[in-house]
């Protein structure tokens, strides 16, 4: 189970990523088909080679789509976040695991953004901007819009004084 105080992302995020994955797989497959097809036509390959190529293309596309379909579920299981008085802590990563701490006092400003697929599922991405270099912005995707807005309000500078 999750450690103390940690929240999971919105379960709908899995579906959003699966749709995005299918679209990606579709584009990659189309580009590959175009490339392989024109190559085959230009070289004038035999029917057997062409059949083999089509088979390989089908298998590759299916494998990619399958992988992009199952991966979001695994990623979801490994992603969580916690907002406490000290700041925001984000954990993610299946193979390469990461824990990112953004102290409350280091938040410069925040964005809540929505892509088209996210919007259709009522999800948002929270982006926290810091003065850092590598982590100049830390994104937390997969939040329901209400949660994202609530997190944003809690992350805004509390005392209203300009810390800079």
């Amino acid at each position: 189970m999750l450690p103390d105080g940690f929240e999971r992302l919105d379960p709908r995020y899995v579906h959003v990523q699966q749709i995005a994955g299918l679209i990606t797989a579709g584009i990659v497959a189309a580009v590959a088909l175009l490339g392989l097809g024109s190559l085959g036509l230009a070289a004038g390959v035999s029917w057997m080679v062409a059949g083999f190529g089509v088979g390989a293309w089908l298998a590759g596309s299916a494998l990619l789509a399958w992988w992009l379909w199952i991966w979001p579920r695994r990623a979801y299981a490994h992603a969580s976040y916690r907002l406490d008085p000290e700041g925001l802590e984000i954990r993610r990563g299946v193979v390469w695991r990461r824990v990112i701490n953004v102290p409350h006092t280091r938040v410069q400003h925040t964005d809540v953004s929505q892509g088209p697929i996210e919007r259709s599922h009522g999800l948002s991405t929270l982006i926290v901007h810091t003065a850092g270099t590598e982590h100049a912005q830390v994104a937390l995707p997969g939040l329901s819009r209400e949660v994202a807005l609530a997190l944003r309000d809690q992350l805004l500078p509390r005392d209203g004084r300009d810390a800079v």
Binding site: T105, T130, G132, E134, H135
Partner: protein, 488 residues
């Protein structure tokens, strides 16, 4: 302010320098045109076509660019068709840099760059202003910072002198002044001469001189050897000369809450770095530095480019310094960073085993890959040599890694050929980040990273930490950062 602030123009010579810049851009095409043109007048036409619009644009830009000092901000207006008015609050100004090349000095003008915390380009480039305007700008900008006096009180100086609390009109204290001998040594240790030789050979190649040689003449090996040896002698000499000229009269001064860096024989650079803007201090030592007991020191300010290379070299606060003087310099720049008080902890010793295993696998792969060409015994020799070297360097590298934490700073050191130490005040930490690769998890280790507003080439990125230590440090550093207010 009772008097209404008035807009000021740049120095009239702005036009000339803008034109000069334009000319330099077109110099190469112009030379090319000269070489390819059959008659001279085409060159004149070429210059006319490009220079006349350039001149008109330069005059228009000069006439439309003004700046003024408002009570709390610097206002720079530019543009004719698309007018732009930029307001830069004094409190946000990171530095006021001034560059004077030979021509600037001849005419008594100066190129001024005003920078705030955003990365990349300077916020305002005032090119060129009369020299007297620079002093005025410094005064206005630094007086206009209401919080500065507070900051000056808060940062006690190393020797606790009372001059630090008085603002404005603080006393200047020279922290470092480098004689030519030290600068030559710095040049030798940097060894930038190869860059010059590389550029020169590139130029020779471009101009076609190289083409006159009829290929590689195997009988002339002694000539080639002489040239090669000559290069090895010339490169260091060039480096030394270059450093002595470029950094001539290098001085680092502390005035109130600011560091003042000045150097240059031909191009004179004057830079100010507000001390509270210092995000990290870095001490770098190459093999030559170890041999001669020297180090070079730089500071990172906010707005360094994320690629690791800084846009300017103004952050070098000491191109070279003896190890004996180093602690005092660091203490006067970052009082909380007492180098002698740092207690260095090694990383997990199992890190060596991980690196060694990787080295052995790679050596075997290399040996196997070269076997078809070299034959068994020789390939085995190659593999063995590589294994020896890689294992040795793994040992030295892991041993060089270390971290230290006091209640005010976090420090990280790495490298055995080129050693680097980075010290970051805890209140400058932006984001703390723990990473575990699959290999890390197998060994129960982790990598801890600390992000600051001015991360340069060497940042706090500690590999091979045992997991509990890394985890504890992550929690502690995040808590420490959350408990302090970040001030640019």
């Amino acid at each position: 302010m009772a008097v209404m602030p008035s807009n000021q123009r740049f120095h009239p010579l702005t036009v000339l320098f803008a034109l000069g810049g334009e000319l330099r851009n077109f110099l190469l095409p112009a030379v090319f045109a000269t070489m390819t043109a059959s008659r001279g007048n085409s060159v004149e036409r070429f210059l006319l076509v490009f220079l006349v619009p350039g001149a008109i644009a330069a005059v228009a830009r000069y006439l439309s660019s003004t700046y003024r000092y408002d009570p709390t901000e610097l206002v720079v207006r530019t543009g004719i068709i698309f007018r732009n008015e930029r307001h830069i609050p004094y409190a946000r100004i990171q530095s006021v840099d001034a560059v004077q090349n030979v021509l600037h000095r001849w005419f008594g003008v100066v190129d001024v760059k005003v920078q705030t915390g955003t990365g990349g380009e300077a916020e305002a480039t005032l090119s060129v202003l009369p020299f007297s305007a620079l002093d005025e700008m410094r005064q206005r900008v630094f007086e206009g910072r209401p919080s500065e006096s507070g900051a000056a009180v808060l940062t006690p100086s190393a020797d606790g002198s009372a001059a630090e609390v008085i603002w404005p009109a603080p006393e200047a204290r020279t922290l470092l002044h480098l004689p030519s001998r030290e600068l030559a040594l710095a040049g030798l240790l940097d060894n930038r001469g190869w860059v010059v030789i590389g550029a020169a050979s590139g130029l020779l190649f471009e101009s076609g001189v190289i083409d006159r040689f009829d290929g590689w003449d195997s009988t002339a090996w002694s000539l080639y050897a002489t040239v090669l040896v000559g290069l090895f002698v010339i490169a260091p000499v060039l480096s030394m000369l270059w450093a002595t000229v470029r950094l001539h009269g290098f001085s680092l001064t502390r005035r109130g809450g600011d560091l003042l860096v000045e150097y240059g024989a031909l191009t004179r650079v004057t830079a100010t770095i507000p001390l509270r803007r210092v995000q990290a201090i870095k001490i770098l030592r190459g093999p030559g530095h170890l041999w001669t007991g020297r180090a070079s020191v730089r500071v990172e300010t906010a707005g360094g480019s994320p690629t690791g290379r800084s846009a300017t070299e103004r952050e070098w606060i000491a191109p070279i310094i003896t190890m004996a003087d180093l602690p005092a310099l660091v203490a006067s720049v970052l009082p909380e960073a007492d180098l002698s008080a740092l207690e260095w902890h090694p990383v997990d010793p199992r890190g060596f085993r991980r690196r060694r295993n990787r080295a052995l696998i790679w050596a075997a792969v290399m040996g196997g890959a070269t076997a078809p060409w070299l034959g068994g015994p020789w390939a085995a020799g190659v593999g063995l040599l590589l294994a020896l070297w890689w294992v040795l360097s793994a040992r030295l590298y892991v041993r060089s890694l270390g971290w230290a934490r006091t209640d005010r700073v976090m420090a990280f050191r790495s490298g055995w050929i080129r050693r680097a130490v980075t010290v970051v005040p805890l209140d400058k930490i932006q984001v703390v980040d723990l990473e575990e690769s699959p290999f890390d998890r197998r060994w129960s280790m982790a990598c801890l990273r600390v992000d600051t507003a001015g991360a340069g080439a060497h940042r706090i990125d500690i590999p091979y930490l045992s997991r509990p230590i890394a985890e504890g440090m992550r929690v502690a550093l995040a808590r420490e950062a959350a408990g302090t207010t970040f001030r640019w």
